[in-house]
Symmetry: C2
Subunit: 423 residues, 2 copies
């Protein structure tokens, strides 16, 4: 079923493309594939859920948010159909459009921009979301007749203590999360989607992530964030199907039919005070996190995956895992068992003009209900976490991430079909 769907999309394009391109190369067949496992490194685009959520996170990210600049809902859905077809091709390691053909009989730009030729699929995933401003714009207008369909779970995030948010890097009507083994493949995908959206959307902000900070599969080793600590040890994993249903996937009974099988994404750009942290002693760093820096084990003992013993006391009668430590305050046990699927990336955007690195964590977390699974955790961290002294949240966005595009969706397949219906 997977193969026939792909054959439909790609085979037809291939036949058409063969006759027109002076530029008819495909990444999937080029000889210079740089991805670790070659052309086999593809992730299925179609399915009940979008890829890029429980998919094992590859090492590189390019994330973009867009403003919709048209009031014509048909222009928007036409673009979403074009994005869907393009995403199906890009995630196969193919180019956008008719294999690099030029479009139409008149001199025209190539349908693909070309910088990813030869790079393979590189495990590319493309994951699409909508922001609250798509439903009701900033002037309160229901421009697409969607206001009644805003999911109750797609809340406006509150202001958290310490937030210093840049509006130009926050929000957005649509988002695209591109993850891949090769950043050039991720960049290429977003750029070509932006191009297909010319006149319909305008890129609002984007963020390059250079290293994943969470494992989303038991097969992955736990990576390190820019504090040098293992991050995401207790993250939700792809293998925990029942937990994913409970904590990640929106359900029909959650109040938004069209979102069933989707999820909600909190995106937070968190600058780290790198230079201050780097002058903090190892003992203090470990006390702040509540884990050993080398092994990632809780300070109460055991290995990385041992449960922290929050009751254990040191010789001074104080808890060994400090009351203001990150692991204690963020622990699911502190939040009624609530868990998030974190999928963030390390970033750097140069320096700040005062000699300090502009770097940190681009936090991405997928949850079923941000109001109960993200907000209380971030509020507690912002108020009490000793780590907050080394952090500054500089951008924020929240998106409703649609359910997947079914294999059987046909040639007019569209992500967000359940939202827009037959428009």
């Amino acid at each position: 079923m997977t193969l026939s769907r792909r054959a439909l999309l790609l085979g037809g394009a291939g036949l058409a493309g063969a006759s027109v391109g002076s530029y008819a190369l495909t990444r999937a067949t080029a000889a210079t594939d740089r991805s670790p496992a070659g052309t086999a490194s593809t992730v299925e685009f179609f399915g009940d859920h979008q890829a890029g959520i429980v998919t094992p996170a590859p090492d590189r990210l390019y994330f973009a948010a867009f403003d919709v600049i048209t009031d014509d809902v048909h222009a928007l859905t036409a673009m979403l159909r074009a994005w869907t077809a393009a995403a199906a091709q890009l995630t196969m390691g193919a180019e956008v459009g008719e294999f690099g053909a030029v479009g139409g009989p008149l001199p025209a730009p190539p349908e693909d921009t070309g910088e990813a030729l030869g790079l393979g699929a590189a495990n590319l995933t493309l994951t699409f979301g909508v922001g609250a401003s798509l439903f009701t714009d900033t002037d309160g207008n229901d421009r697409f007749g969607l206001a009644a369909k805003r999911p109750p779970a797609l809340i406006d995030l509150p202001h958290f203590p310490g937030d210093l948010l840049d509006p130009a890097r926050s929000g957005g009507d649509l988002c695209v999360q591109a993850c891949a083994d090769d950043p050039q493949v991720a960049f290429h995908a977003v750029r070509n989607l932006a191009r297909l959206g010319f006149g319909v959307v305008s890129m609002r902000w984007s963020q390059l992530g250079f290293g994943r900070t969470s494992s989303t599969s038991q097969a992955q080793a736990t990576p390190r964030n820019l504090f040098g600590f293992k991050d995401g040890t207790e993250n939700l994993k792809a293998e925990e199907a029942a937990e994913l249903e409970r904590h990640v996937w929106a359900q029909a009974e959650d109040g938004s039919d069209w979102m069933a099988g989707g999820s909600y994404l909190s995106a937070r750009r968190i600058n780290m005070r790198i230079e201050t942290w780097d002058r903090t002693s190892l003992g203090e760093q470990e006390a702040i996190i509540g884990r050993a820096k080398g092994s990632g084990a809780p300070l109460s003992g055991g290995d990385e995956h041992a449960a922290p013993d929050f009751a254990m006391q040191g010789s001074d009668g104080m808890p060994i895992v400090a009351v203001d430590s990150h692991v204690r305050l963020a622990h699911p046990g502190r939040h009624g068992g609530s868990r998030m699927l974190r999928r963030g990336y390390n970033f750097t955007d140069g320096s700040d003009g005062l000699g300090r690195m502009e770097a940190g964590l681009f936090f991405l977390a997928f949850v079923r209900d941000p109001a109960t699974q993200y907000v209380p955790v971030q509020l507690l961290l912002a108020q009490q976490d000793a780590l907050s002294e080394y952090l500054q949240h500089t951008a924020s966005a929240i998106f409703a991430v649609a359910p997947g595009v079914p294999f059987a969706a046909g040639p007019d397949a569209m992500v967000f079909a359940s939202l827009f219906g037959d428009r």
Copy 2:
């Protein structure tokens, strides 16, 4: 000789480190190495020339420029010695300092920041240069007694037509070019050098590059820039020893004894007008570059590596490789046979607030003499190249890249030893 040098530096550190670290992991022995070829992916740091020039360019870059904020030459040379020892360890896939030990008997920060544990050496190279402002600062002071040693080849670049340079991203007293298979390894190296330089240097600017745009070895396939074209087809290659002596390596007779075996680096941040380019027809794109987009072959025929035939005329009597095409104007034949070793990277730094991607080429080129090898080429391109319409140079710097640190340099090895002498 190589091994004994490494054993000296690393063995001693390892012995010391074993007794102190609660955090005594090494990247070289960790199980989660992500680099393509594992721990074997190391590039020799010591040698007649610095690594990272003719070394086959890996895919990722982190580049940083620093201002020296002390007037104490001994503080500066002490830092350069610390940088040299750290670079020898980092490029082996080890951590900075005593294998992650904490420093000294009092509570102290760990000597390494830790985010590259488990990532392998990833073919890391670290390449060091000095800017003209190190010799004479912006107030005209000879603060380190080095003014007489400024190499004649280390010129101030002229203003080129169309330049719109951001001073905050330009210049610098020192530079570090970190290239690696893994951007987190490159970032980690620069961050730890910055940390060792606390109180001596301040990071002035930095640039992340996500994809190489040149091949520097015949073993490498030609990569593509963000115009989607193969770039650097005719680049100087590591295998061309005689050409490198002629075009890249500074010679004793060039007027600066201490620079013999070094090179000069032109760094230019070149923004591309991505959205405009992407609306240009394939025919026009190819006419502007002078090459076919798919194959990279000159429009006059042959394969990618065929010499362009600039005399060949089309049926209209005009040259097939247009007079204002990039390949014609940049060709060594137009510049008295002069060649550069290009080693640039694609970059993106988000969006510009008007919906346009902030992206382009971070151009890096190593030459023996910028005045004759870089300036005339860039002047001609800025004046006549059809491609210039799609480009904006937004930052500029030029550095004297020191000769290599010899294998036999001993435990006080220092990059720039030939410049500072015994200070």
